[in-house]
Symmetry: C2
Subunit: 616 residues, 2 copies
């Protein structure tokens, strides 16, 4: 058992089978908090520059934050940090469920996996440490089968992160599926960026955690209980959370479609003429029950039963597997999603890849793929991708690599940023998301700064650049801190710094929290510069997003387009606010101000060149 309240990491080298406990220095916790921040620190420090993400040298980290497993609401979340095989950049992929809490209940704050096992294995973590177990007979099994088998072996109370065939076959957008058993299908999913392929490359089928108690180390239990109680109170007064309870994230389908922001036909349009069959309100009529993560009173998960079992349907699933493929019935989406989940793919990337293939077919650039709207074809193609059969072997590489292979027009309609496929908000319909995608630290992602609600409900204005850069920058920094705690995106936070201070026993102020977020954001940027020379040229969007007129609802009579020049103005403002150079690299000044150079003197080597590059 560790001597300090937070910072004990269990490190396993699969090549040797050896494990040890690593203690993170309190100063690192104070500056990088946990979760996302701690992962960025460890990856920057320990990963050899230029490491191939699918090589044994890559690190695969299952991390928690100081608040994980505590009474602070929505403390059930965890994060997988690694170098992404999809983007070759830093990746943090967050997941709900109960596994993160269980890791902490065993006395650890994270599990770091290195090396590669010579044959399929799974890890069993408990209070006694870690055991590497043979998983040969699990290899090839679907996600829920694997969870079932594992629980039969180690007990029904075990929590598990597993990969399906997609991860085994190194599909570059394979997911890690958490607690995805057929009964409850609570399904936390570390979906984006291909962490499942990294797991597969290590011959690791599952991380299984079995905790006896539910105790988390804490420096000041009384203080933690008090701040948690107030956080829960704030939460219970927050009306929008009741909408989440009633409808879940799929609530957003209806407004997104009304406003012309719902990705449709591989992002060529923003609405379906009749989208009722995709509404969350329509889905509601089929919902069997709600699902919740550990310690969350919201229970936003909506479980429906389809052929093959239970499945939890979210907004992003509907947008990408549904409207983006011209499939207009959420029950069909649920059926496809069930296959996606069981084979262990990321639904957002999968929906993109399938829609991209459908459009390539129309253009005569790809054969053996279904047409838009062909649901059976979609299901079959998903299967081929997971097993890398036929055309699926190409598509398993993700849209960016497919576009390079196919060439020509394919490059213009490959909907990704830095190799990561775009989620469910059309950038032409939501200019804030245009900037958010272009500057996100892991490629096309909506979770670092989600501007859409602010655009349609205020304080931002649609089709205006005013205030967008500041909104995006501030949100990215604040979320980087929140994703280090770790708590859910969906709730208002009550003085989280006090909770961190209560758990860790460190002095930790609001200033530490916010400054920490900005510090983490900048460290990740430097990592991405180090690994892939990321800069202004990469902070952009696919050609389709610029200049092409976007027809607006209700009938497409009026159009609007996002001019490249307008976008560049937002980007300039963003760099200036970040005190980055116009080349997209952090200035020496900001790296020093954030004390990153104190931890890693070499960061200054990646700073923006010359003093002429920013005006902020």
């Amino acid at each position: 058992m560790s001597s300090q309240p937070f910072g004990s990491l269990l490190e396993v080298d699969l090549s040797t089978g050896k494990s040890r406990v690593v203690e993170v220095a309190p100063e690192v916790i104070k500056y990088f908090i946990g979760g996302k921040g701690l992962g960025a620190y460890l990856l920057f420090k320990h990963l050899k520059p230029g490491t191939d993400p699918l090589s044994p040298d890559n690190m695969l980290m299952f991390l928690t934050g100081p608040l994980t497993g505590t009474p602070y609401p929505t403390s059930g979340r965890m994060v997988v940090v690694t170098k992404s095989p999809l983007t070759n950049l830093y990746l943090d992929s967050h997941a709900g469920g109960h596994l993160g809490s269980a890791i902490r209940w065993c006395g650890y704050d994270g599990v770091i996996v290195k090396g590669k096992a010579s044959s399929p294995v799974y890890l069993l973590v408990s209070e006694e440490g870690v055991e590497v177990r043979d998983a040969s007979r699990l290899w090839g099994k679907t996600v829920s089968e694997t969870v079932k088998e594992v629980r039969r072996e180690v007990g029904e109370d075990a929590h598990a992160a597993v990969i399906g065939p997609a991860g085994e076959n190194l599909v570059r957008f394979a997911a890690i599926m958490i607690d995805s058993d057929e009964d409850t299908w609570r399904a936390g999913i570390a979906g984006r960026g291909g962490a499942g392929a990294v797991m597969g490359s290590k011959n690791l089928k599952a991380l299984v955690v079995k905790a006896k108690g539910r105790k988390v180390r804490c420096a000041d239990t009384e203080k933690l209980r008090e701040v948690s109680r107030k956080a829960m109170e704030l939460l219970s007064r927050t009306k929008f959370l009741k909408v989440r309870t009633a409808i879940g994230t799929s609530f957003w389908v209806e407004p997104m479609n009304r406003f012309g922001i719902l990705p449709t036909r591989n992002f060529s349009r923003g609405f379906l003429k009749d989208a009722v069959g995709l509404y969350g309100e329509y889905l509601r009529a089929f919902v069997k029950r709600n699902a919740s993560c550990y310690n969350c009173p919201v229970a936003c998960g909506k479980i429906v039963e389809v052929e093959g079992g239970n499945v939890k349907v979210e907004y992003e699933d509907i947008a990408l597997l549904g409207s983006n493929c011209l499939i207009d019935d959420v029950i069909k989406v649920a059926k496809s999603l069930k296959v996606v989940n069981e084979l262990g793919l990321d639904a957002i990337s999968t929906g993109n890849v399938v829609a991209f293939a459908m459009e390539l077919r129309e253009l005569g650039l790809l054969k053996d793929v279904p047409a838009f709207g062909d649901h059976e074809g979609q299901v079959e193609l998903i299967r081929k991708i997971a097993y890398r059969e036929g055309v699926g072997d190409l598509l398993a590489e993700g849209v960016a690599r497919v576009a390079e292979r196919v060439g020509g027009k394919a490059r213009e309609i490959a909907m990704h940023v830095k190799g990561m496929e775009l989620p469910g908000y059309l950038p032409r319909g939501s200019w804030g998301m245009a900037l958010a995608y272009a500057t996100s630290d892991r490629g096309g992602c909506h979770q670092r700064a989600w501007t859409t609600r602010a655009e349609i409900e205020g304080p931002l204005e649609r089709f205006s650049t005013e205030g967008v850069a500041k909104f995006v920058k501030d949100t990215q920094d604040e979320r980087a801190a929140a994703f280090s705690l770790i708590v859910c995106d969906f709730i208002p936070l009550y003085r989280p710094w006090e909770a961190v201070s209560a758990v860790t026993g460190l002095e930790f102020s609001e200033e530490d929290y916010l400054r920490g977020g900005e510090r983490i954001w900048n460290l990740v940027r430097v990592f991405n510069i180090r690994e892939a020379g990321i800069g202004r040229k990469d902070d952009t969007l696919p050609p389709r997003c610029f200049n092409e007129p976007l027809p607006l609802p209700p009938n497409g009579k009026f159009s609007v387009s996002l001019r490249r020049e307008t976008f560049e103005l937002m980007l300039n403002e963003y760099y200036a606010l970040r005190k980055w150079g116009m080349d997209g690299r952090p200035s020496k000044e900001v790296l020093e101000k954030l004390e990153l150079s104190k931890f890693f003197p070499e960061v200054l080597n990646f700073a923006s060149g010359g003093g002429s590059s920013f005006s902020g």
Copy 2:
């Protein structure tokens, strides 16, 4: 028992206590169908021109249509037709529930009440005919108390239409409450236009119906069963109905607020900055169960429990009692609504009157009324209105009469058309509704042509006049026919003319159905001309709706206004499509084409003067 399948009306004269059965000629059924159309025919034929609506001479008709109580889906609806004490015009006020079906199961197709009882009575209708019973001890009781007492007396299986204290006290917007018992609170409500006051003026506390069986006369049962089966099939394939099941009408709060159409602060704005507390999706989290009318698989009613019992909350309740009074919590709305229902008021008019009073207070024009947002004050004022206490006695007259009394600025902000208060769609935010309100046959009403969805989802375009007049005219005609069947507003219809033909045994084609709707619309117009000299000057909106800029969501930076000239252009087009003169009176031509002059030669006396008045 009647000899013909549809058209047997039970007529009761409360002055004499005598009753008789009147048979309507088959030709009248073929031309005016039933429900709304039959009511218009009977009122035009039998009501003495210029009758005071609150005098014994007014007729109060509880009518069904050929499809009422049959297997055709949503056949549970009925209509109350009378001359309105709020508008002095024709009134048809529709209600769901089970009472209409029960009337038919007794062998009647409607109950016509004339005269005035010398002391409070209720009517008991059964297969044996009608009994006038003493209701002295029910007078003064609330709605659910009355239903409870009545059922104790005549049996728990009785259905009842009752008035509360508001109807007794002749509040000009008192409702007739149907099957509003505390247990189920299915609450069909004939709300609009003050039919409850007409009932009160007759000393009639309740119409109670007790049917033994569930049989409805029908000429061709096999054919009716077949078309009903197909109608039910169509309905089960209609996805939007599942949204209605899941959320109910309050689904519309969220989009209306997003689009700036939600009446806010006495119609001075179209959105609340934070309206989540009024969303149907938020309400959903408090719903105890769904409620349905007879033979309806949708069950759109959403029952919540508040202090004082159960209440069914609809979109209009939220818009008028909620945002329009600056009350932003749907649970508070539900509490106010419970009082509105128990005292027997129309929620739409009540919300308007209260908001109007709140604004008059701000302007220093009215005392002893609450401020915007004061929920306790709202509840207290509702009570005062129902009992005509203090300022409530003035407000019980409705906004039009209050505006006349107060004068000056009050006239500009009194939100009514032809004396009827406006429902939940801001005309400046929905130009189709501007025309629909102005031309509705019973004053400010949204049910004759609801354009809002077409404006925000297509085929219409917002803030454009293109196609609006035709959409409004066609919808009014079709709805006039549907409200004569009678079926619900909310479902797609499957060949209703075949169902009418099957029930009545008459030849009845699609042409008869559509032509019938237009015929009914024109007859009502002539009635309104006869009673109140209605014409172009009345087909307009309150001054606030014109020219005053309407700030748009999300932050009010942009505004739009509806110019009076723009509105007049739509109105011209509407008159031309109707083949009415530019004075707003039907042409001789159209009255003859619709064969109205065949039934009532005198209609030509009310036709548009001169031949120069329209260009259609």
